[in-house]
């Protein structure tokens, strides 16, 4: 399989990249784990590839004002092994370690994954539970928006033509916060058939600040607000967790494909919500 011809540039600054991306035929290349196969299958045929991998400024992870700012071109394996992410935002590091396989994690990037918005990607579960924000640059513009506003539908985002994700912003977590990502893995590709991330705090025997992010179930990842509401303020007994998890798929149009029917995905979403909340609870102190 050979992609359609394209011209190619590998700029060294974001400004140069945005200039090159102003061409309506242009598409940004990050890790290539999704775009190159799509081009080989001729599902995508950009006339120009703007390779972002030589832009050093997009490959940094730094802590700033109670948040971690992760460059869009940081790979999954860099997130998985970063001491900063592991200690300050362990949910994101844990989620990155579950993505695809060794080869995919060595090349695939967080910005690329978010921009592609595959319904079965792992990151959305964690990023929704973390209430992540995404910094987006365009030619002469810059905006920061919650992930919730960026994702629109399966493979569709609110990115304007020529815009580029430059940074993903997640909170620095208190050591007492409990988090966990649990997924049903598609055995060949490693994609999430369903994946659930939970984040919560525990004080005086009660659960608070519950956030639950879900991926794989619907057209995009989402925050399961109803589950959060039901669980907030409870003691986190098994019965209470099950009762809250039971509503995770309510109002969601569940995906169906050759790997799992919609009914099975709804069932899995409940099972993995229970598991994620239990594991997060066990880690909270």
């Amino acid at each position: 399989m050979i992609p359609q011809n394209f011209d190619y540039a590998a700029p060294s600054t974001i400004e140069e990249a945005l200039e090159l991306l102003a061409d309506p035929e242009a598409k940004a290349l990050a890790g290539g784990m999704s775009l190159i196969p799509l081009m080989k299958l001729r599902l995508a045929a950009p006339g120009r590839l703007v390779d972002l991998r030589r832009i050093a400024g997009l490959r940094e992870i730094r802590q700033d004002d109670g948040a971690l700012r992760i460059g869009a071109l940081v790979t999954h394996s860099e997130i998985e092994s970063s001491p900063l992410v592991r200690s300050r935002c362990p949910l994101l590091a844990e989620t990155a370690s579950h993505i695809g396989d060794l080869q995919v994690r060595n090349a695939g990037t967080i910005g690329g994954s978010i921009a592609h918005n595959d319904p079965a990607a792992d990151y959305p579960a964690a990023l929704f539970a973390l209430e992540a924000k995404v910094k987006v640059a365009g030619k002469g513009t810059e905006r920061t928006l919650p992930l919730e506003e960026l994702v629109v539908d399966a493979m569709v985002t609110a990115l304007e033509p020529g815009e580029l994700i430059t940074e993903v912003i997640v909170p620095v977590e208190a050591a007492s916060t409990g988090t966990s990502y649990q997924k049903m893995r598609q055995p060949a590709s490693g994609f999430a058939i369903v994946g659930v991330a939970a984040r919560l705090e525990k004080s005086n025997g009660r659960i608070g600040s519950v956030r639950v992010g879900v991926t794989g179930l619907g057209p995009s990842g989402f925050r399961a607000r109803r589950v959060e509401e039901l669980l907030d303020g409870t003691a986190g007994s098994d019965g209470e967790i099950r009762e809250a998890a039971a509503v995770v798929a309510e109002g969601v149009e569940a995906n169906a494909d050759l790997h799992a029917s919609a009914d099975y995905r709804r069932h899995l979403a409940q099972v993995f919500t229970v598991r994620a909340i239990r594991a997060a609870l066990a880690r909270a102190s």
Binding site: N5, D7, I36, D51, L102
Partner: protein, 211 residues
Amino acid sequence: MRSPKESQVRKLPESGVSRRGFLQGVSLGGGALGAAVLERPAEAAQSGVVGPGEVSITLWVNGKEHELRVEPRVTLLDALRDRLGLTGAKRVCDRGTCGACTVLVEGKAVYACTTLAIDAQGKNIQTIEGMTRGSELHPVMKAFVNNDAQQCGFCTPGFVVAAKAFIDEHPNPTEEDVMNGLGGNLCRCGTYIGIRKAVVEAAKAMGGRNA
């Protein structure tokens, strides 16, 4: 080992001929477009834009420098196999799923089928061919032989390269670690049991250190 040489491709002088201007210039030519584009020298591009015709690139493979001309759409796998005669990395799924094309770029296992050759310039590329020292097999290769870790053998080079990268980062793995760590490689003959044993044995033979 010498460090890889930076390629010249991105240091082209600006010529002032914009891509759009060029395309407009030939747009009335109809059928001539393809030929004209292919023959357009890389130098005639806007601020570092090259292709879609062939571009000179330098690849640093197994410690040797190779100069070649490829279109930007040529993958590292096709450049290795079809241009450099290094056919150890195999083309199977050709879409970043099966792992048969695994090579090391800067010591990390990647799918050569989803890496553009032009993007691999200036990086240290290692293939299965670079793992032997003369006729002496690498410890991972020896362990694959000892444990019958292959049947038809088509997936084996990818597995061996991925296993080396895995052991470099996990010097004392269990069989379960190997199963998870090599999840990016598939074997249709189903020789996973032998492969897991081989990788654990190889890690022991390498003495828990990188090799």
